[in-house]
């Protein structure tokens, strides 16, 4: 069965930092719940694995990822993932992810993916596939945003340090400039503390069901409103 995904997620970081995460396939993979890059074959080929539960079907996909295009100018990444699991499911995904700037200096992750699923997943999971991928992608986006934000804060910290340095040097001429400099326009607001960035483990079925239920109810009330 085919699932086509076209989604946008806010990233609490500027374009450059977000791009650092997006363009690093290994880092990118760890944003995916239960996913990891196990081996880099060459510049554009990787081996990876991902564990997912859909309804009664559990799958540990092992597969290949091919980097089709990576374009810093448009901040666009295109990759092709193919994988199969021993218990009789296989999947392929063509993903095109790009970053666009948001007004407040943060950025937006735009993801377009065509996923084809065969085997047990497609047989039993079909009905749930769309909502499951929503939940998985939402988690992916959160982690992605956290990673980017961490980079952003690191970058900002440096800039602040640099700014204060110049400020002290020209202290006599007053500290207005440094005040201005110490709040770079690019700082995403409101800046959240990016304390614990832990790549989520394999998506656990209970949590998944809970999130789907919550989304479902939200949808209900959304309709009423």
């Amino acid at each position: 069965m085919e699932v086509n995904i076209d989604k946008q997620y806010p990233v609490a970081a500027g374009l450059d930092c977000a791009w650092q995460v997006l363009s690093d396939v290994t880092a990118l993979a760890t944003c995916m719940p239960g996913a990891q890059i196990t081996e880099q074959v060459d510049a554009t080929h990787y081996k990876g694995s991902v564990k997912v539960k859909v309804g009664p079907a559990v799958a540990a996909f092992a597969g290949d990822i091919e980097l089709l295009a990576i374009d810093p100018a448009t901040r666009t990444l295109t990759l092709l993932g193919k994988g199969a699991d021993k218990s009789g499911s296989s999947a392929s995904m063509r993903l095109e992810a790009s970053l666009v700037a948001a007004e407040d200096g943060s950025s937006t992750l735009v993801g377009k993916a065509a996923v084809i699923i065969n085997g047990k997943f497609a047989q039993f999971g079909g009905r749930m596939m769309a909502s499951v991928s929503d939940v998985i992608l939402a988690q992916f986006a959160v982690t992605f945003s956290q990673k980017a934000q961490a980079l952003q804060e690191a970058a900002d910290a440096e800039r602040v340090a640099a700014a204060t340095a110049t400020a002290t040097a020209t202290a006599a001429e007053g500290s207005t400039a440094s005040a201005a400099a110490s709040t770079p326009a690019s700082t995403p607001s409101p800046a959240k503390p990016a304390a614990a960035i832990s790549a989520p483990k394999e998506l656990n079925a209970l949590a998944l069901v809970w999130m789907m239920l919550r989304n479902f109810l939200a949808g209900l009330f959304g309709r009423k409103a």
Binding site: M1, E2, A84, K86, S87, G88, S89, S90, I116, I117, N118, G119, K120, A122, Q123, F124, G126
Partner: protein
């Protein structure tokens, strides 16, 4: 003093009595004996590794991990079966089918390997551990796509074969073209007809879904060289012949036993790879092997039904007299042609599609096509594609009625074959035995107050605030059952006769053995009633045995409503042989000539003398202990009955539906079914059969569907998705009957189990479409789930 005649007759509990089912005592106490109840010492368990994709090459199969699992004894693949030449097997339709996928997978859930283990759990773990690497190929799930010039070749094993079992193949994915009727005459009639209508309709792929899934327990005795197999089969004798031919074991050393069967509905006619693998495993390992599939395997891989893409055409006069019928069908047979039809009829009895109507010219053409779906095309509670045929003609006559704005009852009356026309030769070559259609329709219309219903419908259509759409469905069907005359009907060359052996014991009880096998039809009850009436012995004293090929005479089994028309006739003929011998014995005992004797319920008596008689009980004793000089002792007979013709049950059905304009929820307000199955042997069992058939018809029309996505993944192959109605969803059934005996059947009986399934489905469709008729809708496809009906409501601008 003699008991009054009516008491003596009642005491027999013979034909016409609503005798309680003898089977039920054990079934309702859980004392039935099904294949899965068979447990043998040292018995191993088999489970099947199935394809995860619909179309692929098998790159490699790794058994290592599976063989390491404690309890796993063997893993068999096509490679292991090759030396035995059992990796492919013949199908009933003249094609071949992979027993285990041979280098290529043709449909999802196809058998790829089997794991044999000490217990069921180890077998299941083994299946999980077998690693199969696939090179995926483009799957073809749409038969129209399959016939395109550039379509992938699905059956590479048939490459270059332009001749199939049923003639020319014009495309690598084409199986056969089969036609019936007079094309020229039909085309001419259409060319000159004042009115013509045409309608495309899809009869979706469904599954009989018997409660008991398929399975086998194979037990090969290496010392005696004998193979005994308990098997869920509707045709155990045919299985024995095929197993003997495949294995080389003499038929005398192959014993097939169909024990209690939990429903068949055509699903248990084919021979499945699982059976073959269990048998091979038992022969190879020298131990009994049990295989019982689960529900998902049953729905995904065993015999489906229908999947006919039909185009119907009618040519008629302006006042609705049908001049000609033409139909073209693309039949999706799946990956292997494993239909269970009489060998000469690749589209079964589809050419019954002129139905109850006197149509002078008709032509039907069916093209069978390969796709990446499970093989099958079984007769789901019907007689070989009769369901599709009746659906086509009963839908088409409604389409014509709407075009001409003629009432749907009137147009049927206008086209009926008249009583005096029987026996009637149809345009496609059937010889209808008997029928009387108008009285059946009149009785049905009166029973439901048809005029009143139409008035109510008109009022509701006129009222914009009415929350529902009301639909009235009519069907006046004719079925063809009781396959069949062996001059035209055979399966793999075996004529479709059936048989009965009756042995009357000295004390006046009897045992009858049959070539058929009950799957819930109540043979043990009804067969005994036939013998009771024929021989004057109480049915309570008559044992009926079926399904053991070591004891029962050869027969073609139970499907296509053939048990009563064929085996029922064999019973009567065997009983009459005994009756004739009994008369000789009675004459000897009474010291009179046979000519002076007359038969009276349970005895031969001296004509006109109630006190000089011998009951069948007396005669049975004498048959063994004081036979007339020159007459061999004993009182038994065997008869193999080769029917001279099919039988043609008919009936008139009415359905009233109310459809919620907002949600598409459909309420079956009323369903009336009148069946004429000729002579009625047990009215209670007929009632039960009709309830069952109507319920399965309701299931197909309102919810059952085996659907596939573009990649050939089967969608909804569990009872979570596949609709199996229970008492909760099932509407109330009103049943009725007329009696028009078959002139060529010894008892006048025609068979009934399938009529209610065959005929109720178009009745539901006709009702659903009728609800939309005033909006110009001439057809929309089953199943009528709320969502699909709602989409039609939207399309017709009713729901928003």
């Amino acid at each position: 003093m003699n008991a009054p005649l009516n008491e003596r007759e009642k005491a027999l509990m013979g034909m016409g009595e609503s005798r309680l089912r003898k089977e039920d005592a054990r079934f309702i106490q859980g004392k039935g004996n099904y294949v899965d109840d068979i447990k043998l010492p040292g018995m191993l368990h088999m489970d099947i590794v199935r394809a995860s994709v619909a179309h692929a090459r098998i790159k490699r199969i790794n058994k290592e991990a599976a063989l390491k699992i404690p309890g796993v004894i063997a893993v068999l693949t096509a490679e292991d079966l090759k030396p035995l030449k059992l990796h492919w097997m013949p199908t009933l339709a003249g094609d071949v089918q992979a027993v285990l996928a041979d280098e290529k997978v043709h449909f999802q859930m196809q058998e790829v390997a089997v794991v044999i283990a000490e217990d069921r759990y180890a077998a299941a773990d083994g299946v999980e551990a077998v690693e199969v690497e696939y090179e995926e190929l483009v799957a073809v799930v749409d038969p129209f796509e399959a016939l395109k010039p550039d379509a992938p070749v699905l059956r590479e094993d048939l490459l270059g074969k332009t001749e199939g079992a049923h003639g020319k193949r014009y495309h690598p994915n084409h199986i056969f073209t089969w036609d019936a009727g007079d094309k020229e005459a039909t085309d001419a009639a259409f060319a000159s007809a004042p009115v013509t209508v045409t309608q495309d309709m899809f009869y979706p792929r469904v599954h009989p879904c018997p409660l008991e899934t398929c399975g086998a327990v194979a037990s090969f005795d290496p010392v005696r060289g004998e193979l005994t197999t308990w098997l869920t089969s509707q045709a155990p004798h045919v299985v024995r012949t095929v197993v003997s031919m495949l294995s080389g074991i003499p038929e005398s050393k192959v014993r097939i036993i169909s024990p209690d069967i939990g429903g068949g509905f055509g699903n248990k006619v084919p021979i499945y790879p699982g059976y073959v693998c269990a048998i091979v495993a038992s022969i190879v390992l020298g131990r009994p092997v049990k295989w019982v599939e689960d529900r998902i395997e049953n729905l995904s891989s065993t015999g489906f039904a229908r999947d006919y893409h039909m185009t119907g055409e009618l040519a008629a006069t302006a006042d609705g007299k049908i001049l000609a019928l033409r139909t073209n069908v693309i039949a999706d047979h799946g990956a292997f042609d494993a239909c269970a039809d009489p060998s000469k009829f690749p589209a079964g009895m589809f050419h019954i599609c002129t139905g109850s109507y006197d149509i002078k010219a008709a032509y039907c053409k069916v093209d069978g096509v390969y796709t990446n779906k499970a093989p099958g095309g079984v007769a789901y509670r019907c007689s070989f594609r009769v369901t599709e045929a009746v659906y086509l003609v009963e839908r088409m006559i409604d389409v014509l009625a709407q075009k001409l704005n003629i009432d749907k009852a009137v147009i049927r009356s206008r086209n009926f074959i008249q009583e005096e026309q029987f026996p009637y030769r149809s345009a496609t070559g059937f010889d209808y035995d008997s029928g009387n259609y108008q009285p059946a329709l009149d009785k049905a219309l009166a029973a439901v107050d048809y005029a009143g219903l139409r008035a109510e419908q008109a009022a509701k259509r006129a009222d914009p605030d009415c929350p529902t759409l009301m639909g009235i469905g009519l069907v006046t069907f004719t079925e063809v059952v009781g396959a069949g005359p062996s001059k035209i009907c055979d399966i793999l060359g075996v004529g479709m006769f059936d048989s009965c052996e009756i042995r009357v014991h000295p004390t006046g009880s009897a045992i009858a053995r049959m070539g058929t096998i009950s799957q819930g039809q109540g043979h043990q009850t009804t067969y005994a009633q036939i013998i009771a009436t024929e021989l004057g012995l109480s049915s309570e004293l008559i044992q009926v045995e079926e399904g053991d090929t070591h004891t029962a005479p050869y027969g073609l089994g139970t499907y296509g409503s053939r048990s009563t028309p064929v085996a029922g006739a064999a019973i009567a003929m065997a009983a009459r042989k005994i009756h004739a011998k009994a008369k000789k014995i009675a004459a000897h005992l009474l010291e009179v000539s046979e000519a002076d004797l007359e038969w009276e319920i349970d005895r031969f008596k001296l004509r006109g003398n109630d006190d000089k008689f011998k009951t069948m009980k007396d005669i049975a004793w004498a048959a063994y202990n004081q036979p007339p000089p020159g007459l061999e002792p004993g009182l038994e007979a065997v008869h193999y009955y080769d029917p001279p013709n099919f039988t043609f049950p008919f009936g008139a059905y009415v359905c009233v539906v109310d459809i919620d304009k907002g949600t598409g929820e459909t309420k079956i307000r009323r369903f009336y079914a009148l069946d004429d199955c000729g002579t009625r042997i047990n009215p209670m069992i007929i009632e039960g059969q009709i309830h069952g058939g109507l319920t399965e018809g309701f299931a197909v029309a309102m919810g059952q569907l085996l659907s596939f996505d573009k990649q050939g993944n089967i969608q909804g192959n569990s009872l979570m998705d596949y609709f199996l109605p229970t008492a909760v969803e099932t509407p109330h059934w009103e049943t009725d009957f007329t009696v028009t005996p078959s002139p060529h059947h010894p008892l006048g009986a025609k068979g009934v189990a399938e009529s209610p399934h065959v005929a109720s489905i178009p009745t539901f469709s006709n009702a659903m479409v009728d609800a939309f008729a005033h909006l110009g809708v001439t057809h929309f496809d089953m199943p009528y789930s709320a969502f699909r009906v709602w989409k039609q409501l939207k399309a017709s601008g009713i729901a928003h």
